[in-house]
């Protein structure tokens, strides 16, 4: 009985989440799929520039690249 109630609650929650209809339809996502709309179009370049910044600045993090260590101390 408890399990059934839990399953009903979980599926209602799931249905609730999916109940939010995407307001941008899949066929309207052409502009978003354009490479010029990507936050990081060239990851090899993005991670290099993040490294250039981190090696010379005090700030680090939230830059997009998940970083690696280096002797930039």
């Amino acid at each position: 009985m408890k399990a059934a109630a839990a399953i009903v609650a979980a599926s209602l929650l799931l249905a609730g989440c999916s109940g939010i209809e995407p307001w941008v339809k899949p066929y309207e996502r052409d502009r978003l799929a354009d490479p010029i709309m990507s936050f990081d179009r060239n990851p090899v370049s993005g991670s290099y520039i993040d490294h250039v910044h981190e090696a010379r600045e005090g700030a680090r993090g939230a830059s997009g690249s998940s970083g690696g260590g280096c002797g930039c101390n």
Binding site: K25, P26, Y27, D30, A33, D34
Partner: protein
Amino acid sequence: MRKTMSTLLRSVAMSALLAAPVVAGNATGGAAAPAAEFSLKSRAGEAVSLSGLRGQVVLINFWATWCGPCRKEMPLLEQIQKKYAPLGFTMLGVNVEEDTRLMDTFLKDVPVSFPILLDPANGVSKLYNVSAMPSTVIVDRKGNVRFIHQGYKPGDESKYQDMIRQLIRERA
């Protein structure tokens, strides 16, 4: 106030009923309902209407060049077209993009022999409640929707073929 409410309720119910035929069952053999009529311009410039194809089995595929699975699916759709066209079948590729240049470039490398229809204003996509890219709708000889499939994964084309074979055997 009461009269307005009941009129409102009745019109909501009516539009729900009208919209229902389009979303007729999410698997093979769902409740058959008439496919919504539309007419779109093809790449070749001529107007193609769904009612004009009554008597044939029609597969409507909603696609775009920016959608990876759509691009993978296209050559397989062309194979299906070649195989079943002589048996009273036609494929309609509905392109939903604003920029037709991307479509032209793609179709140069992946030529197809079935009509490519242009739906840049997305009117037909809305009419058919397209909720994934690509989407495939198969309509029987009587004009009823008998199969809806969302997305594309390798192997899905055999599901389309099974449905087409079944519907081809049915009489118009």
